[in-house]
């Protein structure tokens, strides 16, 4: 276990990847290109510096070739947003047990600078997590942590420009961050949106609570952004300024903004891919569901079927799973037009957590009861009361046939789907509440508890 609580302020990017130019190909300058911009005072020093920099880049690149794996959406080393690719299912195998202490498999844990109910993301070897601190949660922290070592690589701190208030069980750091593999988009309940490079450099900053002062509510917002087709899409549904917007990932400017029902909703948008390879963004409210084009915001189709205020939509194997008083599956994979209802089941409606889906099954957490159903027809296969599981907000994550489920006291269960039944095969007490959905990448399970980041291997 590597327990590291040192502020990283003094650690000058010990992980060589942090400043490697190739990692940020869009807008953040490399040291060498930036140096060319301004007049230098000493030409000898400049030459030596550039030579030195080149040597350093060559040296560390050679040394860390293994660590420079692709960091795009499909890589098993990445978990780029809330629920990964939107299904909560990992493409890599997560540890079979969660155990702290001798013989345990806790790789590391790290004290964080504030509180969080947001899930972490993983971009290559970088874990990104958000926190909030201060009297009202107005201090916003974005931390980059090395996945392998658990060491803090960088940290950025901002001040909320919108309303930071929230219920005591929540935090300003409630929406999970997202990434396109090259940039990080950290969103907060106060509707602050920061875009950082993978080295933690600020690329741009939006204060959507400053732009639209009536956005948000004082219970706290929680909808996580999605990144698709060069845009960051946020959903800010509240009693005041209520909208969804696409922000150009490179420039930070609005591409579009559409009005949404003026009522509180915490569900996150979801990206789905249609048979004609178009992406659509599914946005739900209690009044219905719309699917919009990511670049234009134009509605592609809609349904009056209500959507939940808290659980988010899920997609798997050509189906879009909409949670409400019942779970409705829309067949979005059959054609590129308005999807038809494939099935509906009023016994699958989740309480707080979103539905988790594999190619064959979906799982719905109803309080402490976990229900499994066939994805194809929505027929229930089994249901299991999870002994000891308290109130749960975090959407479980799935690896192979194992679900990782946490409650708000920090109790965690590994539940194995054994076909006709399920069994809890491991339990753990983290000692801090977990309200954010964990991440799975590179064979590791990364869990953001209230004030601590845990990594099991």
């Amino acid at each position: 276990m590597n327990q590291n609580s040192h502020p990283l302020f003094f650690l000058i990017n010990k992980n060589p990847r942090a400043n490697r130019p190739a990692m940020n190909t869009l807008s953040a300058p490399t040291p060498s290109t930036a140096a060319r911009r301004g007049p230098l005072t000493n030409s000898i020093g400049t030459t030596v510096f550039l030579v030195c920099t080149a040597c350093l880049i060559w040296c560390v690149t050679a040394d860390t070739a293994k660590g420079a794996e692709p960091t795009n959406n499909s890589g098993s080393k990445s978990w780029l947003g809330f629920r990964g690719d939107g299904t909560s299912r990992a493409s890599s195998s997560a540890p079979e047990k969660l155990e702290i202490g001798d013989g345990g498999n806790l790789a590391w844990k790290l004290k964080m600078p504030g509180r969080s109910v947001a899930g972490p993301i993983v971009v290559g070897d970088l874990v990104v997590t958000t926190s909030s601190s201060g009297q009202d949660g107005e201090v916003l922290h974005i931390s980059g942590v090395n996945l392998q070592s658990g060491k803090l690589e960088w940290e950025q701190t901002f001040r909320a420009t919108g309303r930071p208030f929230c219920h005591p069980t929540s935090a300003n750091a409630a929406p999970s961050p997202a990434s396109d593999g090259q940039r990080i988009f950290a969103f907060f309940s106060s509707n602050d949106l920061a875009c950082l490079s993978l080295s933690g450099e600020l690329l741009w900053y939006r204060g959507l609570g400053y732009d639209y002062p009536k956005a948000g509510n004082d219970v706290g917002m929680a909808s996580s952004p999605v990144v698709v087709d060069g845009t960051v899409i946020v959903k800010v549904e509240a009693q005041g300024d209520s909208f969804a917007a696409a922000i150009d990932a490179e420039t930070g400017k609005n591409l579009w903004r559409i009005e949404r029902p003026q009522m509180s909703n915490w569900a996150s948008p979801l990206v789905i891919q249609r048979p004609d390879d178009r992406n659509e963004v599914v946005i739900q409210s209690r009044q219905g569901v719309i699917a919009v084009d990511p670049r234009s915001g134009k509605t592609q189709w809609s349904t009056d079927e209500g959507g939940s205020a808290i659980p988010s939509p899920t997609s798997a194997d050509g189906l879009l799973i909409l949670p409400s008083d019942e779970v409705i599956a829309l067949n979005v994979g059959a054609s590129a037009s308005t999807p038809e209802v494939a099935w509906r089941n009023n016994k699958l409606s989740p309480r707080n957590a979103s539905v988790v889906a594999s190619d064959a099954r979906l799982y719905s957490l109803k309080g402490s009861v976990l229900v499994a159903a066939n994805l194809k027809d929505g027929e229930q296969v089994w249901q299991k009361r999870l002994k000891g599981l308290g109130s749960s907000w975090a959407t479980p994550v799935l690896s192979e046939n194992r679900l990782y489920i946490f409650d708000q006291t920090g109790k965690g269960l590994v539940v194995e789907d054994q076909g006709e039944d399920a069994e809890t095969i491991h339990e753990i007490e983290l000692g801090e509440g977990v309200l954010g959905s964990p991440a799975i990448a590179d064979g590791r399970l990364v869990i953001r508890a209230a004030n601590t980041l845990f990594c099991f291997q």
Binding site: F9, A28, G38, F49, Q135, F165, R206, G240, T251, N254
Partner: protein
């Protein structure tokens, strides 16, 4: 084995090269930029506006600025003066980038900047924040002297330290802890810190009411209920608000058409402990209703001030006939100082009119119809009406 030796040689060569580079560059800024260029880039960040305005210039400017030598930290911190909140964060991000990349200790410069009260308050707060990371013990000593600092950020840090100090003292010396909490109470401006101090004093047997500590206004005249079924009342200008917006005064003897007949102004008081004015209790838990509340506040001078409202219901506030805030939000959290608006307090009598709207939600958590209100100076210090 041979490959390994080659690698070692290369590493040694690299190390020597780096040493040489450091030596050659000693006394110089590797990325030094002339001040005019720096100021132009800083202006680009300072000028970012709403909805991405100015970002085309700000993005390259940020890229330029993050290469700035840490020796220019004063210029960067100075740029935080009078910025909008978004521009402030652009500057914060860049300053953190510069600090993170700095290979030289910055503590001395940060300490000097933070403690110079002629510098801008935001910049001073950030300088202290950076110093806390680099030299926490030094920062702690300096912060303890900032209880009455004009920088709210520094004052808040000092109050926080004082609270923690008093907590520790209370384990050994109750009297001293009470005295320390009293000092913190006088300095505190943030409502959560005030609330924590009040609670701590209460546990030590020192009763301090929230109403007194925050200087909440508790004497009101109330006119209710008026109709707000289906939320129609929020934007409906009933007679009192028309009258107030026109003349800045109200006739408290006049009768008005209420939701179910004639209604007239009645005195209503906030609770002695929390200063809460409970309209649900006063009006029999009426739903779909509106109450108007009027109070007078006397000031001995013209001064900038803030109206601060805590209210779980939709609300509007007018002061001296002018609308200063409106929030059409129902049952989505509440706390003291939830809504804050600047306004000019005038010498003499100032009149405050509130419109507090209750909707028809039936959930158990949607039954409150109440508020807490106070007037403060711009730092958050509660102001009392002069006799």
């Amino acid at each position: 084995m041979k490959k390994s030796k080659t690698s070692h040689c290369l590493r040694a060569a690299l190390f020597l090269t780096m040493l040489l580079a450091i030596a050659v560059n000693a006394g110089h800024d590797a990325y030094s930029q002339d001040d005019a260029s720096l100021n132009a880039a800083l202006d680009s960040l300072r000028q970012v506006g709403k909805e991405g305005e100015g970002y085309s210039r700000a993005i390259p400017a940020a890229n330029q600025l993050r290469q700035t030598s840490a020796s220019k930290i004063d210029m960067l911190l100075n740029a935080m003066a009078d910025t909008n909140p978004v521009a402030e964060n652009w500057l914060r991000g860049v300053i953190f980038d510069v600090a993170r990349k700095s290979s030289k200790p910055m503590a001395t410069g940060l300490q000097r900047y933070a403690m110079d009260q002629s510098n801008n308050p935001k910049g001073r707060g950030l300088a202290m924040e950076l110093l806390q990371k680099e030299a926490p013990q030094t920062a702690s000593k300096l912060i303890s002297s900032c209880l009455n600092d004009p920088s709210l950020a520094l004052r808040e840090m000092a109050v926080e330290q004082a609270i923690i100090g008093a907590e520790n003292t209370s384990k050994q010396n109750t009297d001293q802890a009470i005295a320390d909490y009293r000092v913190a109470l006088a300095a505190a401006r943030h409502p959560r810190q005030l609330a924590r101090i009040i609670e701590a004093l209460g546990k030590l047997g020192e009763e301090v009411s929230t109403a007194d500590a925050f200087v909440l206004l508790t004497d009101w005249q109330s006119l209710a209920p008026m109709n707000n079924i289906d939320g129609v009342g929020f934007n409906m200008a009933y007679a009192p608000e028309n009258e107030f917006q026109t003349s800045g005064v109200l006739d408290l003897k006049a009768e008005h058409e209420g939701k179910e007949g004639k209604i007239s102004w009645q005195p209503i008081a906030g609770s002695a402990d929390l200063g809460e004015v409970d309209l649900a209790e006063a009006y029999n838990k009426e739903k779909g209703a509106i109450a108007y509340l009027l109070t007078e506040f006397k000031s001995d001078q013209n001064r900038p001030a803030q109206a601060r409202l805590g209210c779980i219901n939709a609300n509007k506030i007018w002061i001296n006939g002018k609308l200063v805030m409106q929030n059409e939000v129902y049952h989505a959290g509440s706390m003291i100082d939830q809504y804050i608006a600047d306004f000019p307090l005038k010498k003499g009598v100032n009149r405050v009119l509130l419109k507090i709207c209750q909707n028809e939600q039936e959930e158990s958590w949607a039954q409150d119809w109440k508020f807490q209100f106070r007037i403060t100076d711009p730092s958050g210090k509660g102001l009392a009406s002069k006799p």
